[in-house]
Symmetry: C2
Subunit: 155 residues, 2 copies
DNA sequence: ATCCTAAATAAGAATTTTTCTTCACTGAGA
DNA sequence: TCTCAGTGAAGAAAAATTCTTATTTAGGAT
């Protein structure tokens, strides 16, 4: 409980620093995003997580708040093949792997890769564009050791 | 006209090779996708392009067909921050630049970058994943020389 | 060439996702 | 404390996507 309070003060400051009023709704929404770290939630996901403890919160507010946060660069939109809007409180430059089987989006952090691209784009000049960020999008299939098909021999 | 007929035969074969029945609707949808090369259209975009010449085509068919094409790997879904489903008939590995001002998605083809990543991922082993493809997503702002603000001095 | 059948389509209803509108309310500075 | 621009709730509205059903069609078999 006390740690949550501490976090809340921090979150509040973040929101203010982003140039937004630090309302209760915004604070709990930000909190939910941090709780869902690595899950790349939709507005609906955040809403569902919040509802039990905040029965009066409105889905419209969640949508609007998430977009305000993105505009204030407090969070990011996550690129999606599936067509929904997804958000990520992790603003540190990182990449994602999209699993075409499970439709999951998984964080992929690779310092070496980051450096490689950093170097590349510091030299490379992209015509007519002021590049602000880059990330690698990997597509693949999860190889789950536990989901291996194993036919147990009779006897 | 004759070239279109030629293309149609080719497209038809593509569709069959993808394991799908080559219906008229599928052929004209594929044709529309090629015409919209580099535009990363939505289902609605394709529908609007097709409707004048194919008044009986149904939007639902366009949605379903595009998904069938993706499943058959004839086309790709384009990653989007905006949350809509976008498609691309260009299956050659390439990257995209997202312009946060105009919300446009622009193709970025860079052989050197492709090679760099190819090399990187041929060595790098991503745990629990069988990587099938990769692409760089750039975010930035278009610098349009013609859109410069210039205040003409009085007199 | 004709027939047959599984697959595909049109049409529109239904569902899901997102945005918008209105009005009441509240955070934070004067 | 007072004020007010910004914010929230609620739900209507709009946009995007999927589903249902009866009808039609492609392509293989006859």
């Amino acid at each position: 409980m006390e740690q949550q309070s501490l976090n809340r003060a921090g979150l509040k400051q973040c929101i203010i620093d982003g140039g937004l009023k630090a309302t209760h709704q915004r604070i709990v929404i930000f909190e939910a995003l941090e709780a869902l770290h690595g899950h790349h939630p939709t507005a609906e996901d955040v809403f569902q997580l919040l509802k039990p403890a905040n029965p009066s919160i409105s889905l419209g507010t969640v949508y609007k708040t998430l977009d305000s946060f993105v505009e204030a660069a407090l969070i990011r939109r996550v690129l999606s093949e599936e067509g929904g809007k997804r958000y990520d409180a992790n603003t540190v430059s990182h990449s994602h792997i999209y699993c075409s089987n499970t439709k999951e989006i998984i964080d992929y952090e690779d310092a070496e890769l980051e450096q490689l691209l950093q170097d590349f784009f510091s030299k490379r000049n992209v015509e007519n564009f002021e590049i602000k960020s880059f990330a690698v999008q990997l597509t693949g299939n999860k190889v789950e050791p536990d989901k291996q098909i194993s036919i147990k021999p009779v006897n």
